[in-house]
């Protein structure tokens, strides 16, 4: 389904996308600030973006901000940061119920717009620095989040594998940076980093709304963003294939857990995006994929064994949770399935099924505000202007040869094993 979207260019590297969708009962605004990754700045940028939505000058602490959001019928306001290629994606998002549901006729979209803009342009700052009390709380939050990386074992294993697979590249580390960097930050340095970010960033703004007349909101956003002084948006590199290591990197990390985690990273020098995504769906993305059907269902080795692609890195990640005694067997089984794909020894039906799944997913776009935004943003960063139907056609045109070509391009680069402590005698990675 193609979106009812209009785009306005507000300045160099700055666009506002309005997506009108009458069926929604909510309004959503997302502002994305996109900057090239500089690893030593990750912590400062993360802290800055999270400070913005915790308080601002009008609502100077988390309590008054929460009360404001609650009064707007549980409006949400939050920030996020993530990496995409060599780009740090810093987002501020806000949402409310649509104006027609306000019990006292409030203009909730107007209030939301003002709130988001105040967070960005009137932050909780005094004498050129974020207010110390709020800064301290958020710095502790960041340090806690870094420390808590280990809590989710599957995610932790993926982070560790990524760190090894992309060693030496700017995007090897998580977007929130390191404990060391976070500890060195001050209210002044983080505010300075924020000012710099506003100048450096390419800005993409999204408004998803069921309101018929959003002229005032568009004007508010336009006025605010066109007034940022000295803008020099920097070029972004989303597409940056990761070089293959000469020898496979093997990392074994013992941990006091009852299930081991195996992560394997494969890389390709060149790869066609549509064929790569289709390959991943067939290899380990769908419940009928080679890995699910064989490693889980036939061999009963694990509960999950899945693959995913990392856009722009030409990298495929496979991960699984296994008994330590079965780790080697699982690794071999994954490689064996890849060999079959390389030889084209997969059912024709699997390609047809993957096409049906891809087309189905594309046709579901537009049923949630976040899918509308993701769709628009994906077109921006892939520089692929095909609309949904155009992409459907590209997937449908893929052949068995295209998939075999992807399989043959992929080479094993990194193997990470989180090793459970019991049964160490069986350990093999």
């Amino acid at each position: 389904m193609n979106l009812k979207e209009t785009t306005i260019t507000l300045g160099e590297g700055m666009e506002l996308h309005t997506i009108f969708e009458p069926k929604f009962k909510t309004n959503t605004i997302r502002v994305m600030l996109l900057v090239p990754v500089i690893p030593e700045k990750n912590s400062a940028y993360s802290l800055a973006i999270s400070l913005l939505t915790e308080s601002n000058r009008k609502y100077p602490d988390n309590a008054s901000m929460t009360i404001k959001l609650d009064n707007m019928y549980s409006a949400n306001l939050g920030s996020s940061m993530s990496l995409n290629g060599r780009v740090m994606q810093l987002s501020i998002s806000g949402g409310t119920i649509a104006n027609r549901y306000a019990l006292n006729g409030e203009d909730l979209l107007g209030e939301l717009t003002e709130l988001v803009l105040d967070c960005i342009f009137d932050p909780n700052v005094k004498d050129g620095a974020f207010v110390e009390s709020e800064f301290k709380i958020e710095q502790k939050e960041l340090l806690d989040a870094i420390q808590a990386e280990i809590n989710q074992k599957r995610t932790y294993a993926l982070i560790r594998a990524r760190r090894t697979a992309f060693e030496g590249e700017p995007d090897a580390y998580p977007s929130y940076g390191t404990q060391e960097n976070a500890l060195q930050l001050t209210p002044e340095s983080v505010y300075e980093a924020y000012q710099e970010m506003l100048k450096r960033a390419v800005v993409q703004i999204y408004l998803v709304t069921p309101e018929k007349d959003v002229t005032a909101t568009v004007e508010q956003l336009k006025n605010a963003f066109t007034q940022i002084p000295d803008r020099k948006p920097e070029p972004l590199l989303f597409d940056c294939p990761s070089p293959l290591k000469k020898e496979v990197s093997e990392i074994i990390e013992p941990m006091d857990v009852v299930q081991s985690k195996l992560v394997m990273a494969f890389k390709a020098e060149e790869i066609e995006t549509y064929a790569f995504k289709m390959f991943s769906a067939m290899f380990g993305g769908l419940p009928v994929s080679m890995l699910f059907a064989n490693v889980r269902e036939k061999m009963s080795l694990c509960y999950y064994c899945a693959s995913r692609t990392l856009y722009g890195k030409n990298t495929l990640i496979v991960d699984s949770g296994v008994e330590l005694a079965n780790a080697q067997k699982t690794r071999e089984a994954i490689l064996e399935q890849l060999e079959l794909m390389k030889k084209g020894e997969f059912p024709d039906e699997l390609l047809e099924n993957a096409k049906t799944a891809m087309v189905g997913a594309l046709h579901g776009i537009g049923d949630t505000p976040s899918s509308c935004i993701s769709e628009c943003y994906e077109r921006f960063f892939t520089k692929d202007n095909s609309d949904v139907e155009g992409r459907v056609q590209k997937y449908l045109a893929l052949t068995k040869e295209d998939i075999v070509k992807v399989a043959n391009a992929l080479k094993l680069d990194t193997v990470y094993l989180m090793k459970q402590e019991e049964g160490e005698a069986d350990a093999e990675a």
Partner: protein, 427 residues
């Protein structure tokens, strides 16, 4: 000529409506046609979860007792029939199929944007056609054992279940949904059939669909595929559960960044409309006292005793259990517990903040409207209503009836700080 009476259930506040059909097969059906949506979501659920371990049917003298984790095991095995599995069939229609088992229910679901009726046929067919053999049952042991192991390493899961074990003496809510690696070894095809035939009776089930669907098309598939069945007079038996808790503190170790905790209060279980009201009131009470807009939360945050991971949980309720809880990360779990208990006792004496209570009602309202935005949210809302023995939209209606006095009364009479359990996981 329509075979079934369609009853429209409308929510003025939510600006939404759904259709209720009591199908002649015994199945309850809810359908929400959502204009402008391209995708659809279907849930086929039964009132059968991990707590249903002792039961008998009308005419049976003795209760049957089954191994822990069998409802979840059954869910895994139902996807497989004699010829092929449901995933292979869904793959042809493009639907994304899945299922989940919780304490009191099992639901099979799919999401799609094309071929809805074909996918619905697959759903209704495989759930009504069990096929269990020794080989297929044994094959699943390894997969589910790894799912159990994965959960054992999940600190949030462990801290919650440890709390339930320290709170409930006998009620099966204290057992893990998937059972244990040992308990699932006792499961065989015969036991699976016994449970299937008991709980997968259409009188005990609901079909809930929402999105780009047409009621007449849904009903045509139901008429074709539903197998009429007799109400078997299912009776459940739960062991007597004392009012008090097992022990007030439990701790465990697992690699974590900093200690994580759950603090829970054991409340008197409730059912039906009273339960919906109590859930709303309880959520408001916790939010007013401990939510991120409360002075208490801010104080603990400033003191560094908690971080923003601290949150109050939705009431955890069902047949014979009602738990209010909160949790997060802290270096000093016992101090946080003591402060929370002192705050509850203070509010019992001094009263809840009235303005904060009214605000919490606005929050509930906004959350309900927001949930009506999505096909999945609506299908789940209708399924939840059935499971609670209520009509869809009951929550939004109940919200209008709750008062400040209700909240204060609930706080004083229902929340007993002597029945608090603190569960901690540290490295």
């Amino acid at each position: 000529m329509q075979k079934h009476e369609k009853k429209i259930i409308r929510s003025e506040q939510g600006d939404a409506e759904c259709i209720h059909i009591q199908h002649e097969s015994g199945l309850t059906i809810y359908i929400m046609e959502m204009e402008g949506y391209h995708s659809s979501f279907a849930l086929f659920g039964t009132k059968y979860g991990s707590i249903n371990t002792r039961f008998r049917l009308k005419g049976e003298e003795n209760y049957t007792e089954v191994p822990e984790g069998i409802a979840h095991y059954l869910e895994h095995k139902l996807f497989e029939n004699e010829d092929c599995d449901a995933f292979e069939q869904y793959a042809k229609t493009g639907a994304m199929g899945n299922a989940y088992t919780s304490f009191d229910r099992t639901a099979y679901l799919f999401a799609c944007s094309e071929n809805f009726t074909d996918s619905l046929r697959i759903l209704l067919s495989f759930v009504q056609n069990p096929y269990f053999t020794k080989e297929t049952v044994d094959k699943e042991q390894g997969i589910i054992a790894q799912e159990i192991r994965m959960n054992d390493d999940d600190a949030n899961w462990r801290v919650f279940f440890n709390m339930l074990k320290a709170m409930y003496h006998n009620h099966p809510v204290r057992i893990d949904i998937a059972g244990t690696v040992e308990s699932i070894k006792q499961i065989n095809a015969e036991l699976l059939y016994k449970c299937y035939n008991t709980f997968y009776n259409l009188h005990n089930m609901v079909l809930s669909v929402a999105g780009n669907v047409k009621a007449d098309e849904v009903l045509a598939v139901c008429d074709e595929l539903l197998k009429p069945c007799e109400d078997q007079g299912l009776e459940q038996l739960y062991a007597d559960e004392p009012d008090d808790i097992v022990k007030p503190y439990v701790e465990d170790t697992l690699p974590v960044g900093k200690p994580i905790f759950n603090l829970g209060f054991k409340l008197k279980p409730q059912t039906g409309k009273e339960l919906v009201r109590s859930e709303l009131i309880a959520t408001s009470v916790l939010d007013v006292l401990l939510g991120s807009g409360s002075p208490f939360y801010q104080k603990l945050l400033e003191e560094g005793l908690i971080n923003s991971e601290f949150d109050t949980d939705a009431p955890f309720t069902g047949d014979g259990y009602f738990v209010l809880s909160c949790g997060g990360e802290t270096e000093k779990p016992e101090e946080v517990r003591d402060r929370i208990i002192a705050e509850i006792e203070r509010a019992k004496k001094e009263g809840l903040d009235k303005e904060a209570f009214e605000r919490s009602k606005r929050v509930h309202y906004g959350d309900i409207i927001r949930s009506l935005n999505s096909v999945e949210g609506n299908a789940s809302m209708m399924l939840n209503a059935y499971m609670a023995g209520l009509q869809p939209f009951s929550t939004v209606e109940a919200l209008a009836t709750i008062t400040y006095e209700d909240a204060q009364k609930f706080l004083c009479e229902e929340i007993d700080t002597a029945k608090a359990v603190l569960s901690v996981i540290h490295s």
